[in-house]
Amino acid sequence: MSEYAIETNGLTKIFRSGWSKRELRAVDEISIRVPKGSTYGLLGPNGAGKTTFVKMLLSCTHATSGTARVFGRDSREPDARRTIGYLPENHRFPTYMTGWGMLDFYGALSGLDASTRRKRIPEMLALVGLDERAHHLRLGKYSKGMLQRVGLAQALIHRPQLLILDEPSDGVDPVGRKHIREVLQNLEQQGVTIFLNSHLLAEVELFCREVAIIQRGKVALAGTVQELTQGSGYKVGSPAVPERLQTELRAGARAAQSVDGTVQFLYATREEANRAVDLLRANQCEIESLARTRSTLEEVFMKTVEEHAA
């Protein structure tokens, strides 16, 4: 068995439209490896090819070229999908079903027998925070947040080893988001691989260990969240820096700012930061803080997207 939950090799999808057969490369030779048990985020602006990529993993969309494997098996084989739980974006669950009926139906399609389904359905509904009133309520009466929760429950009912979630907290209130995050963290601890496709960068940063940023169908940047958000500078903070010394320190700094009475100097290299610390100590100034700078995932994302757009 493969050590990767997802492994794609040159995965490409070309759509041809109209009489002219104009080509659109929605996904262009994407090769990624998602280790088993990891939490992986797929980011990208609208139309970057994220959803097409996910649909190829699930064999909803046929690849023009390249391969996609799930736990070492070709994702086109129906049996390979037995290990996958999926919550689509813009899902349209049948409104004539009740919450219970929906889990019963998708559980049966996942191969669970009737007695297992009867046992697991109340467990799953409770896990995603849907109370008993919701069990026999038609989905047409559900709120957007409730639909997301029941959607997550259907993705989990067969205890998948890989969870692919497309905008899982879309339409869910902050309390619900926290609850969904806790459910996912719990699954992560159990060794479930979670593949998250989300526009909420803060959510991805909080939850995922690795991310890939897709732009125009290609992987523009990939790595661990820690690596990608690691800044290249150093921040030195000191309270009550004399005016004369401030001018001297500013001269070598990339930037300086005053925050709550503490002056923070930003240096590009470790040597410059050390020199600033020496200077401050020589002038009997206290060091309030000394840290490597970090970018937010949003800053990394914006920078990557802008660079590739240019």
Binding site: N90, R92, S110, G111
Partner: protein, 273 residues
């Protein structure tokens, strides 16, 4: 097996959530209640009967002719009007499966595409078959109890009605796979239901057409398309206990249905959603 059963049960649930199937069921029930309570048949002197509707007695008639004639009228109403209603109801049922946000979830399950499509096809066929059998077997029992005439032609005719629906459902499935549209599926299927009885008058059309190529077109269309009108004649013959001249309309229609369903499955397998 679990998945197949789930797909069929789901189709039943969705069908009953759509009021049109309840309308179909209601019409069948109304006709059965009419036969049970309003239509009075008293058999007198063996083969003669007096018939009363709403208590008004009609002239005495031969019961052995009356029952098959009435049954053939019911079968024809069911064959044409019931079929139109069933097509109308089923078109939405098939295309609903291809809605974005729903099909992706179905395809993400460990079930083959062939299985998914056939599950919906068989489920839909069973829903309509249940309604057809309900009316035909129900009215056959009512006639049998009232007249003690238990001819097998009438119940047998329901199998041919179901068969023609199965062929038209294959067309609905193909159109659904190609264009995701219930409305287009209804238009195409109704066009077949309207054109094929005209083509059934092949001999007359050939006399009326002046050029040989146009006669060839009529011949090709006649042999390729399902023969709904010709099968209705076979049904009438079966009910009236008359010999069937040719079974060609049945097997050629079956070939058309198998080819269309096969093409629909092939397109569904290749399609990206």
């Amino acid at each position: 097996m679990i998945a197949t059963y789930a797909l069929i049960v789901d189709t039943f649930r969705e069908a009953f959530a759509r009021r049109i199937f309840w309308g179909f069921f209601g019409c069948c029930t109304a006709l059965l209640l009419f036969l049970i309570f309003i239509l009075g048949i008293d058999v007198v002197e063996g083969s003669l009967a007096t018939i009363s509707i709403f208590g008004n007695t009609l002239p005495t008639t031969n019961v052995e002719n009356l029952v098959p004639q009435t049954q053939s009228v019911i079968a024809m109403v069911l064959y044409f009007a019931g079929m139109a209603l069933a097509v109308f109801a089923s078109a939405g049922l098939v295309s609903a499966m291809f809605e974005q946000g729903r099909i992706e979830l179905l395809l993400s399950k460990p079930v083959s595409r062939l299985h998914l499509l056939l599950g919906r096809y068989v489920g839909n066929l069973l829903v309509v078959s249940a309604n057809i059998l309900y009316l035909v077997i129900g009215s056959w029992i009512v006639f049998g109890v009232k007249t003690n005439i238990w001819g097998t032609g009438f119940p047998l005719s329901s199998l041919f009605t179901i068969f023609i629906f199965a062929v038209l459902l294959a067309v609905i499935v193909l159109v659904g796979v190609l264009w995701d549209s219930g409305a287009v599926a209804i238009m195409v299927t109704f066009a077949i239901m309207i054109v094929t009885p005209i083509l059934a008058q092949k001999a007359t059309l050939e006399r009326l057409l002046s050029s040989e190529w146009s006669r060839d077109v009529v011949r090709v269309l006649y042999y390729v398309l399902p023969k709904t009108a010709d099968v209705s004649v076979i049904i009438r013959h079966l009910i009236l206990n008359q010999p069937v001249e040719s079974w060609m309309p049945v097997w050629s229609t079956a070939l058309f249905g198998a080819a269309v369903l096969g093409f629909g499955i092939w397109k569904f397998q290749r399609r990206s959603f």
